[in-house]
Symmetry: C2
Subunit: 352 residues, 2 copies
């Protein structure tokens, strides 16, 4: 059997994932047959998971973080809403999520049986007025997005924290920094545990963190919040489990530990600066060709280059996705270099 050739990253402009850091790849290969879901059996990787959580705490501004390495941002977002629902005492729970929220919140609402209240945007970030109107006594969580999937924008997290503090039902504030978490520390944005009364936060090492999939992250300010997720595990040597999945990948955990060790903070800072410069350069190049471009606050560019042009560059082998509004969406992951972008623009110019 021929397995075929895995996708090369050379023409991938659409992915939130990237070529793993060499140390992350090497660690993943070493730990590929371990299972942090069974910590009594696989002790070494369970210890590595604690290390990863501590480092994610450093990145997000939390001294003594609770959390775990999830399968990805979707699991972390589902779990954050699940613990908020379980902690609350309402038969009719709802969550308020910005219209810019990732589709995993729609999935979470279906899975958990909670009502999804979608708050419209004011520009590219959530409207605080809309959030205020949507919150009621059955609101168990309010979500803020720190690095939106489509435009890389950051909701006003401190202002959302103020609304949550005044809310009647004592909801939690959850921040989705799945993609943004590894670039935001090098910006002026207020987004993490140190900036506001954030309760839970999603940050994925397998996106800008350069770890291998699956390595997502769920963090909580208080250990007691995660206790809402605990299920007994009768036959394991450990006694309870808070994760959504059972058996888990030691490769993801070990590679996250290796990537964080190699790159935090200076490597990530350099990558952010390179990616952000590339985003601004690409935005200027596209503008000079007459495209409407959404200014890249973080290393993600959305530009209206026309549906036919998107189809044509895809035909030429480029992986490019589009926003709901139809703009082309360029994610400046570490594998997207200036050279890649020059090659893309050359193809674009030839095709138009």
């Amino acid at each position: 059997m021929e397995l075929g050739i895995p996708q090369s990253f050379s023409r991938v402009l659409s992915s939130m994932c990237t070529e793993p850091h060499p140390a992350a790849r090497e660690a993943a290969e070493r730990f590929i047959a371990t299972n942090p879901g069974d910590p009594g059996t696989y002790e070494t990787v369970a210890d590595l998971e604690s290390t990863v959580v501590d480092r994610l705490g450093d990145i997000t501004g939390l001294a003594d973080p609770a959390g775990y390495v999830a399968s990805g941002g979707t699991e972390a977002n589902i779990q954050a809403l699940r613990l908020a629902r379980n902690r609350a005492d309402t038969p009719d729970p709802n969550v308020v999520v910005p219209a810019s929220g990732h589709f995993s919140f729609t999935k979470a609402a279906d899975v958990l049986g909670v009502e999804l209240r979608v708050a419209p945007l004011d520009g590219y970030t959530v409207s605080l007025e809309a959030v205020t109107e949507l919150i009621d006594e059955d609101t168990v969580a309010v979500v803020g997005v720190a690095g939106s999937t489509e435009y890389g924008r950051v909701d006003p997290i401190p202002a959302l924290a103020d609304l949550v503090a005044d809310a009647p039902g004592d909801p939690l504030l959850h921040v989705d920094a799945a993609w943004g978490g590894f670039v935001l520390p090098f910006t002026d944005h207020a987004w993490g545990f140190a900036d506001a009364a954030v309760d839970t936060l999603t940050i994925d090492p397998h996106k800008m963190g350069q770890a291998v999939v699956p390595a997502g992250g769920l963090l909580a300010r208080e250990e007691s919040l995660l206790a809402e997720l605990a299920v007994d595990t009768p036959y394991l040597e450990s006694t309870s489990q808070i994760t959504l999945t059972g058996t888990r990948s030691g490769a993801g955990v070990a590679s996250a530990a290796a990537a964080l060790d190699a790159l935090w903070p200076e490597g990530y800072r350099e990558q952010y600066e390179t990616s952000q410069a590339n985003a601004e350069w690409l935005a200027a190049e596209l503008r000079s060709r007459g495209a409407d471009v959404v200014s890249p606050t973080l290393p993600l560019v959305a530009a209206d280059i026309g549906t036919e042009t998107i189809d044509a560059v895809r035909e030429a082998g480029w992986r490019l996705s589009r926003t709901e509004q139809g703009e082309a969406r360029f994610v400046m992951q570490p594998h997207v270099t200036r050279e890649t972008l020059r090659a893309f623009l050359a193809d674009l110019d030839n095709l138009r």
Copy 2:
């Protein structure tokens, strides 16, 4: 930073996972940076996933299977109950699960907000009378276990199918063969789609299938059942997603494809025969030492060797878990050889 040494499998008697097949490991390493959750971007691995699902259909007796490669048995079980709940039309759904069911069903019930009705056992398999009594018009799914986690026993799946056919609320029949699915085809048990009106089934390549974690499997008789799980994916090149997680591991998918190619059917048959012979040999050896042993129907031995003895062999470095009843539990995964078992018994004899 020292990552430490991953757990060697040489003294692991407690795990449902195992040393991956060499072809599975090699495939995982090649596809470690791909994401089948984004099939528009990562086409090759998406194609491999279809191959895996087709092969899992061969193993479970389903000609044209619907399904996908999940993060593991927990996700597959959650998703099976989720689609059953979504398909049904009751505000107060319940599921009937044998007392021998994996703890993921407890987790699923919490996550999904469905009532868990636990059917007591008759010996080591579910009591059909109890199931009959627990089913009502709000029952959305009945679960049968094909290879229980603690004792490796198989519920009477055809009889459960008959109960489901007569049930008032049109529930689904879900079979959990997460661990058993790769050994049951070589036994006389009736357990799969060809044996009874099974609607959905969990079968994990990363357990007895010798693929790397994460490679679980959810199969459904009808594609329409999986449609209950679909969520729109606005920014991806694909348009909807049925998985519980979002970004997924291409390593798991590719390694499952490679393991199935290398081992189905003859390699798995040989492994089953070796593992089953080891189980029976170990059972006899433990009986000859005076232990009460639960006869191993599948390659899993439970034996009452005393709590102090369990603690002592753990102290000596053996990874051994226990059942809720306190018996030691020996899972005859491929890495557990006769030589391993002889070494274990030698330690046991020295320690007692």
